[in-house]
C-alpha cells in the first residue's frame, strides 16, 4: 500500500511520464494485505474521473446502449473480420503475441487454481470466458488446454468467423460463442471461474463500467486477466507510430492513445470493482528473432492478473 501511494504521489510531481523503473518489479502488487482504504486523491484518480466523463459523453452521443461499447470501435473491427485467422494479415501482431500471452495465462491460472503445470490439459473442468474474443485466437488454445470456454464479442461477424474456425478441430468445436456483451451476460446471471479480456479495454467507451461487468462475471475467488497498452510515450511511439504507420502491422486508427490506460489506473479501476491485481507483466518485441517475450517492462504492452475478492 505504501508502494502504491509512493507511485501515485510521484505522479503528482510531474505530468510527464514517470521513469518506468519505479514499477519494473513484476510482483509489486503481490502484497499479502491489500489495503483497500480509499486511495488518496491524486492526478491518477482525477484522470480516471475525466476518462469516465469523456466516456459517458461518448456513450451519450451514440445514444444507443448502456453498455461500455464504442460503436466506432465496433465498426473498425467489423471491416477486417475476415482476416482474423490470416497469420500475415492485419492481425499478425496478435498472432505473434498469442503464445506469449498464453504462457502468462497458463502460469498464473495454474497457480491460482492449483493445477499441475506439466499436464497437457491443465484447465480441465474450469469455465473460462474470453470477453472480446474476436476470431477466437485466444479461445481456441484455451479449449485445447482443457477449459470449457465461452467466447463473446460484440461484432457479429467476428463470432461467425470464430464459430466456423473452431468447428474445424474437434478439440475446439465445443467452444460456446455468442454475439453479446459482458453486461448482458451479467444480467443473465452467468458466472465463470476465470474471466479474460485481452486487448479489449482500450477499445471500450467506459472502462470502469466494463471492469465492473467483468468482476460480476467472476465467481468469488475467481481470476480475472486483462491486457492492454500503457498510455506512455513509448507506447505512442511503438504501438501507434511504429505499428500503424511505419511497419503497418495494424490498420491506421486501430488504437487511440487517449483510450490507453496506465497500469495504476487499471489497478485502481479493478480495485473499485473488487478485483485485487496480483501480478503484472509486460510484453516486449525482439525484432531480431521476431518473437514476443514476457518481461518486467510494462511500458508498452502489459497484462494484469487479479483475483476477485
Amino acid at each position: 500500500m505504501n508502494q502504491m501511494q509512493r507511485i501515485l504521489s510521484a505522479r503528482r510531481l510531474s505530468h510527464s511520464i514517470i521513469p518506468q523503473s519505479c514499477f519494473l518489479h513484476r510482483r509489486w502488487f503481490a502484497t499479502s494485505e491489500t489495503d483497500a482504504s480509499s486511495p488518496p486523491l491524486s492526478s491518477a484518480h482525477q484522470k480516471i474521473q475525466t476518462l469516465e466523463d469523456k466516456a459517458s459523453n461518448k456513450s451519450r452521443s451514440t445514444a444507443l446502449t448502456t453498455s461500455s461499447l464504442n460503436e466506432q470501435e465496433l465498426a473498425k473491427f467489423s471491416a477486417i473480420a475476415d482476416t482474423w485467422w490470416h497469420s500475415e494479415g492485419p492481425f499478425k501482431p496478435l498472432h505473434l503475441m498469442n503464445p506469449t500471452r498464453l504462457a502468462f495465462i497458463r502460469s498464473t491460472l495454474c497457480r491460482h487454481f492449483s493445477k499441475d503445470p506439466s499436464s497437457a490439459r491443465p484447465f480441465e473442468g474450469l469455465r473460462l470466458i474470453d470477453v472480446g474474443c474476436g476470431g477466437g485466437l485466444l479461445s481456441e488454445p484455451l479449449a485445447r488446454l482443457g477449459a470449457t470456454v465461452t467466447g463473446i464479442d460484440a461484432v457479429d461477424k467476428n463470432v461467425k468467423i470464430a464459430r466456423l474456425h473452431a468447428d474445424m478441430d474437434p478439440m475446439t468445436s465445443k467452444i460456446e460463442y455468442q454475439c453479446t456483451t459482458a453486461e448482458k451476460l451479467v444480467d443473465e446471471g452467468r458466472t465463470f471461474d476465470a474471466v479474460l479480456a485481452l486487448e479489449v479495454i482500450e477499445h471500450v467507451a467506459n472502462p470502469a463500467e466494463f471492469c465492473n461487468s467483468l468482476s460480476a462475471l467472476t465467481i468469488p475467488n475467481g481470476a480475472t486477466i486483462l491486457s492492454t497498452i500503457n498510455r506512455s510515450m513509448r507506447a505512442y511511439a511503438s504501438a501507434i507510430v511504429a505499428a500503424e504507420y511505419i511497419l503497418q502491422w495494424l490498420p491506421k486508427g486501430t488504437h487511440e492513445w487517449s483510450s490507453f490506460l496506465t497500469p495504476e489506473e487499471l489497478t485502481m479501476i479493478l480495485q473499485r470493482a473488487s478485483i485485487d491485481v496480483k501480478e503484472m507483466a509486460g510484453f516486449v518485441y525482439n525484432p531480431i528473432t521476431g518473437r514476443w517475450l514476457l518481461s518486467d517492462d510494462i511500458s508498452v504492452n502489459f497484462i494484469a492478473y487479479g483475483t476477485k475478492k
Binding site: R144, L145, L164, M168
Partner: protein, 506 residues
C-alpha cells in the same frame, strides 16, 4: 463419444515365420490397454481413416529418437504418433543376440547425445549391449609433419564419446517408445504421396467434420502409403534419410554436391583392446579406426571411387595388409614426437594440457576382418528449408555431411530433441502443432547450428584434400596448433562433443 484406443501392430507375433507369411494379407490387430486412461486429448476416431497427431516418416535412429523424446515428456506423451517405415522388422522384439559380431554400421555418439539418450531413458538399454567409450583421440596425416592428440581430461571429462552400433541405437529407443504411454501405430509401408492444402477460407461444415473434411480445410495432411492406406496427421515429420521422399514431396529444394569419394566400412579385430579413436588423413581421404568393444574396431576409409571398388573386392588378407599399411607407414612417415612435449609453450597456454605431453602412438594392428565390406558414396546436402506447411525435416533429410568427424547422426539427434521441445511448447500453449510459427522456431534453432557444423566439416575435408607440397605447411600448422594451444583444443573438443552448438560464439 467412444474412444477406442487400439494399438495396431501389423507385425506378426511369431518371429521368423513372419518373413514367409508376408504375402498373406492377414494381420494381427492387438488391442493393448493403455495405462494412460481415457485420453480426452486426441479425438482421432472419426470412424473413417485413421487420424494421428504426428506422422513420422522413416523409422531410423532419428525418427525413433523423435518418438522416444515425445514419449518421455509429460506434455507430449499422450500424443498419437504414426511411424511409417518400409522395414518389416521394425517394431519386432529386439533380436540382437549377445556375442554376435559387430555390425559395420556404427555411429559415434557425442557426450551431448549421450545425455539426450539418458534423458529419454534409452541409454540403459544401450549399456546392456556392446558399446565402447573412448577417451583419447589421435589425428595425423601422411606427411608426418604433425599430429594432434585429444584427451577427455583436457576438458575435465571422462569420455570423448561412445561408439554404438546403429541397430542398437534404434532398438533401444524403440523399446523406450513401446514401454511408454505414447499411442503409436507402425505402418510397414512406403510413402507414395503426400498432400496438404493451405488453410482455406471457411465455409459451412457439418456437425462433426470427417477426416476428409478436415483435410480439405487444410487442418490435416494426407499421406498415401504403398499398401493403399491413407493416413491423416496434423504434422508430418520427414526422418527418411538423405534421399528423403517427404522432402521431395514437400517441394523443399536442396543445395549440395557429391564428394568424389566413396567410403568403405567394415569391422576388424585386434589382439588387444582399443581405447582410442584414430584418424589419419591420406592423400585421397581419411581412414578412421574406432573402437567398438571387445577387441573389435570399426574402419571408415574414404577414398576415390575406383580405389574403393578395388579395395572392396580384393581378398581379405590383402585388405588387412592395406589397412595396416594405411594406418602405419604407408604413404609417408610417422610424425615426430617433439621431445619438449609442449613445455616450451606452456607459459603461453597457461593451463594444463595433458594430451600435449602424450607421445605419438601407432594404432593397434588389425589381425582379422570380421564383417563384409560395405561401400557407399559421400555427399553433402542441405535442405533450403527445414519446415513447410505441416512438414518438418529432421536428421539426414535436412542435412547430409561427410563422416570424417562422426557428427552426422549427432546433428540428427539434436534436431529430434529440438523439434520435440518445440512441439511440447506448442502443446503447453494450446497451439495446433502443425502451425507454421511453431515449426519455424525449430528451424531457427537448428539451422544455424547445422550450417555451421557443415561448413566446418566441409572446410576440413577440402583442406585435407589438397596435396600440394608447399601448402602442407598449413596442415602441419593446424595439427600443431590444435595440439599445443590448449584454449583452441578445449574449444575443438567442446564443439565436437556437442556441448556448444556454434563453433565461434557460444
Amino acid at each position: 463419444m467412444n474412444r477406442v484406443l487400439a494399438r495396431k501392430l501389423r507385425t506378426n507375433v511369431c518371429g521368423s515365420k513372419h518373413i514367409f507369411q508376408r504375402a498373406c494379407s492377414t494381420h494381427v490387430t492387438r488391442k493393448v490397454s493403455s495405462t494412460a486412461g481415457s485420453n480426452e486429448t486426441n479425438a482421432n476416431s472419426t470412424g473413417d481413416s485413421p487420424q494421428h497427431d504426428i506422422a513420422i516418416v522413416g523409422g531410423g535412429m532419428v525418427g525413433i529418437a523423435l518418438a522416444a523424446s515425445l514419449a518421455s515428456k509429460p506434455l507430449t506423451k499422450h500424443l498419437n504418433v504414426a511411424i511409417i517405415d518400409n522395414n518389416p522388422l521394425l517394431g519386432r522384439k529386439n533380436i540382437i543376440e549377445k556375442g554376435h559380431l559387430p555390425d559395420p554400421r556404427v555411429s559415434t555418439v557425442t557426450p551431448a547425445t549421450i545425455s539426450f539418450l539418458k534423458d529419454i531413458g534409452a541409454w540403459k538399454y544401450i549399456e546392456e549391449q556392446r558399446h565402447a567409450y573412448f577417451d583419447k583421440m589421435q589425428v595425423w596425416d601422411y606427411t608426418g609433419l604433425g599430429y594432434t592428440r585429444y584427451n577427455a581430461k583436457d576438458v575435465d571429462q571422462d569420455i570423448l564419446g561412445c561408439v554404438v552400433e546403429n541397430k542398437v541405437l534404434q532398438s533401444s529407443q524403440l523399446s523406450c517408445v513401446q514401454e511408454s504411454d505414447l499411442q503409436k501405430t507402425i505402418y510397414p509401408a512406403r510413402l507414395n504421396s503426400m498432400d496438404m492444402l493451405p488453410s482455406s477460407s471457411l465455409t459451412g461444415l457439418g456437425e462433426v467434420p470427417s477426416t476428409a473434411d478436415l483435410f480439405m480445410r487444410g487442418r490435416l495432411a494426407k499421406l498415401e502409403l504403398s499398401d493403399g492406406n491413407n493416413v491423416y496427421a496434423k504434422l508430418v515429420v520427414g526422418a527418411d534419410g538423405s534421399k528423403s521422399r517427404v522432402r521431395e514431396l514437400a517441394g523443399i529444394k536442396t543445395t549440395g554436391w557429391n564428394y568424389s569419394q566413396n567410403a568403405i566400412i567394415c569391422t576388424v579385430e585386434h589382439t588387444v583392446e582399443n581405447f582410442t579413436a584414430w584418424q589419419r588423413f591420406l592423400p585421397n581421404g581419411p581412414i578412421a579406426l574406432l573402437p567398438v568393444g571387445d577387441k573389435f574396431s570399426n574402419i571408415v576409409w574414404t577414398m576415390d571411387p575406383t580405389e574403393a571398388s578395388d579395395r572392396k573386392s580384393m581378398s581379405e588378407d590383402d585388405f588387412i595388409k592395406a589397412v595396416n599399411d594405411a594406418l602405419d607407414y604407408g604413404y609417408g612417415p610417422h610424425p615426430e614426437t617433439t621431445s619438449s612435449g609442449g613445455s616450451s609453450l606452456s607459459w603461453l597456454t597457461g593451463d594444463v594440457n595433458i594430451s600435449a605431453k602424450e607421445r605419438f602412438e601407432t594404432p593397434p594392428k588389425v589381425v582379422k576382418l570380421s564383417s563384409e565390406r560395405m561401400m557407399f558414396p559421400l555427399s553433402l546436402r542441405h535442405a533450403k528449408d527445414y519446415v513447410s506447411n505441416r512438414v518438418a525435416l529432421v536428421g539426414d533429410s535436412a542435412h547430409t555431411v561427410h563422416p570424417l568427424a562422426g557428427q552426422g547422426v549427432n546433428l540428427g539427434f539434436a534436431d529430434a530433441s529440438a523439434l520435440s521441445r518445440a512441439i511440447a511448447e506448442g502443446i503447453a500453449l494450446g497451439t495446433d502443432i502443425g502451425e507454421a510459427n511453431l515449426l519455424k522456431r525449430y528451424e531457427a534453432e537448428r539451422k544455424p547450428a547445422n550450417i555451421a557444423m557443415m561448413a566446418v566439416l566441409d572446410g576440413i575435408q577440402k583442406m585435407y584434400a589438397v596435396n600440394f607440397g608447399p601448402l602442407n605447411a598449413f596442415r602441419a600448422a593446424a595439427f600443431h596448433g590444435a595440439h599445443y594451444i590448449s584454449p583452441l583444443k578445449k574449444r575443438i573438443i567442446s564443439y565436437a562433443s556437442g556441448e556448444q552448438s556454434l563453433p565461434l560464439f557460444s
